[in-house]
């Protein structure tokens, strides 16, 4: 992993990694008989300081970069870590299967997180790791079939009374010609409509990128959890820059203006819980990230599974109704 990390270095991480490499070199020398204990301790301290100063003051754009890190855990990594016996179910029954969304039943290992093991439906955007996989998964950008598959399986989960765990990680719905021909807008709208009234708990976790209707299309739920370095907004910063600034160069400004981080969205009441990530991002210690998500999801599930379907739906609607900021009257 450490070697891979160096290959996918983000600009703002460079000074840190250089220092870390120096430290490793010293350690190697030390084991070869040269006594560097004092120097190593000092350098170690500097590395720690630098690490916290970099990662505890991340700008919004830096978080966007972390959310897109090529080594960041994707949906199927979470499935593997948090569940057992995952059975993928495929196809929308109308046209095709869309690999940009994966879905299936599995046993959530709730007992690992002070809860109980139970069957859940997992639905998530899936990105690819290498060029071939990325193309196959369409960079996590679903076609209408993906949303229709998700909708079909969520209705089945409702039929069998199973909670739904949605993992969001997409740069947006796929903006292609066929997607429009087959009704991208209708497919997303139908899911928003259907998810509003599913009589089972829906827990949404934004694990990476959450752009626009493409994310929301599988993202209406009872609890919104969001990883510390994930982003969620109405549009990707690049597209926002291109439209409002008429240039691709203002993505950093756009990321700032859109207020797209977990902290921002918690303030606006869009999300409920910020799930902490290991220092440096989920990819630096995936197990820690899986654990944090598992724990937060288990807590939400435990709470929601005690509610009657009627209460669940009523509260879900109330929650949505309250989102938005405006003033009323001639004030």
């Amino acid at each position: 992993m450490a070697k891979n990390q160096a290959a996918y270095l983000l600009d703002f991480e460079k000074p840190l990694v250089e220092l870390e490499m120096k430290l490793n070199e010293m350690r190697a020398l030390d084991t070869n008989g040269v006594d560097l204990t004092q120097e190593i301790a000092e350098l170690d301290k500097r590395v720690d300081e630098l690490r916290s100063s970099i990662y505890q003051n991340l700008t919004r754009w830096q978080r966007v970069q972390l959310a897109r890190h090529p080594l960041r855990p994707y949906t199927l990594n979470y499935v593997e870590a948090l569940t057992t016996g995952f059975v993928e179910l495929r196809g929308d029954r109308y046209y095709a299967d869309d690999p940009a969304i994966v879905s299936g039943f599995a046993t959530f290992r709730g007992s690992n997180y002070d809860y109980i093991d139970r069957t859940v439906l997992v639905v998530g955007h899936q990105k690819g790791r290498d060029t071939r996989q990325r193309k196959y998964r369409r960079f996590g950008m679903p076609n209408p079939e993906g949303y229709r598959k998700a909708g079909r399986l969520m209705r089945i989960a409702a039929k069998f009374g199973k909670p739904i765990l949605c993992l969001l990680d997409t740069p947006g719905a796929y903006p292609g010609m066929e997607a429009e021909e087959r009704g991208q807008a209708e497919a997303i709208a139908r899911n928003l409509f259907d998810m509003a009234c599913l009589p089972v708990p829906i827990i949404v976790v934004i694990i990476g990128e959450g752009a626009s209707g493409g994310a929301l299309g599988i993202g209406v739920g009872d609890r919104m959890l969001m990883l510390e370095n994930a982003w969620y907004s109405v549009i990707a910063p690049e597209s926002c820059s291109s439209i409002l600034w008429r240039s691709w160069d203002y993505r950093e400004e756009a990321a700032r203006a859109l207020r797209l981080t977990a902290k921002d969205l918690k303030k606006f009441g869009v999300i409920d819980t910020i799930v902490p990530e290991p220092l440096g991002g989920a990819h630096r210690d995936p197990d820690a990230a899986f654990n944090a998500v598992g724990r937060a999801a288990a807590a939400a599930m435990q709470e929601l599974c005690t509610l009657s379907p009627e209460t669940l739906i009523a509260v879900r609607h109330e929650r949505l109704d309250q989102i938005g900021k405006f003033s009323e009257g001639n004030a």
């Binding site: 087959r182 807008a185 400004e253 859109l258």
Partner: protein, 282 residues
């Protein structure tokens, strides 16, 4: 010497008078280039008399066109947008809002009203592209939601006229969530078996198409309207080639099964009345 001779040289109308000719008495048709008369267009629901091009039609005009005797009660006109993100691009959102309000006389991009349509009491919301591209932020989401709730509370059908570039970027994720909020509220009408007619006008794209605009029991589109999820420019950039003519037009959507019918604006009222009669009467 000619029988007429101009004694003073140049154009005699002062620059000031030239500039003060009332605007918009004549408008050129973007499709057939015919110069249409304002008054004539007013009497023709702003449809070109020669080529049937549908000019943009504001929220207030739709209310006048659709409600019986152009009589209706407006609602929620006092909802005012805020700037929760303190959003600034090349221009501050707060300034954009102020300018848009001054230019349109509206607080935001949608209006809601109740009144009779063909004798049926109806709750209606109509979007207006002239206000920041008809984009949906918190206020639009809330007004549409209230129009839905009004329909449910008073057991009336709902009609929404959409005209929007999509969700409003300047309110970030709050805009995005309005898609979920409006769609969730539409489920009330479903459960109460109240009809919802969605009218998609030029243009209806992005987050508005991907929420309430596509969820009508009956989806009606105006001829030639641009309707889609992704904008044509984005698609062109994605696939790296030009889009076929008519792509994402109302006719394209009808061919692909996403709108029930395309209705000329001059027949829109009679068609809606007929549909309401069919649904509401035994």
């Amino acid at each position: 010497m000619a029988w007429f001779q101009r004694k003073k040289k140049g154009i005699l109308t002062t620059r000031n008078d030239q500039n003060n000719i009332p605007e918009g008495h004549w408008v050129k048709c973007p499709k057939c280039a015919l110069i249409n008369n304002h008054r004539e267009l007013d009497g023709n629901a702003w449809v070109c008399v020669k080529c049937d091009y549908h000019y943009r039609f504001g929220a207030g005009r739709y209310f006048d066109l659709l409600f019986d005797n152009a009589t209706y009660t407006l609602h929620d006109a006092d909802l005012v947008p805020q700037d929760p993100l303190s959003f600034t691009d090349r221009k501050a959102y707060a300034d954009r809002l102020r300018t848009a309000a001054q230019e349109t006389g509206m607080n935001d991009a949608v209006r809601a009203a109740t009144g009779n349509v063909g004798g049926h009491p109806v709750s209606m919301a109509a979007m207006d592209f002239s206000f920041i591209g008809g984009s949906m932020g918190s206020v639009v989401g809330e007004i549409v939601t209230r129009a839905i709730k009004r329909a449910a509370a008073q057991q009336m059908p709902l009609i929404v006229i959409s005209q929007s570039g999509g969700a409003r970027m300047m309110e970030g994720a709050l805009s995005l969530m309005q898609m979920a909020k409006t769609s969730a509220n539409l489920t009330r009408l479903d459960q109460m078996r109240l009809p919802y007619i969605s009218v998609l006008t030029n243009p209806t794209t992005g987050g508005v198409t991907a929420s309430f605009a596509m969820l009508g029991d009956i989806n009606i589109a105006e001829p030639g309207a641009l309707i889609g999820f992704a904008g044509p420019r984005v698609i062109r950039e994605t696939i790296g080639q030009d889009l076929p003519p008519g792509f994402q037009s109302a006719e394209f959507l009808q061919d692909h099964g996403f709108v029930d019918m395309i209705v000329d604006r001059r027949q829109l009222r009679s068609r809606i009345v007929h549909l309401l009669d069919l649904i509401l009467e035994p």
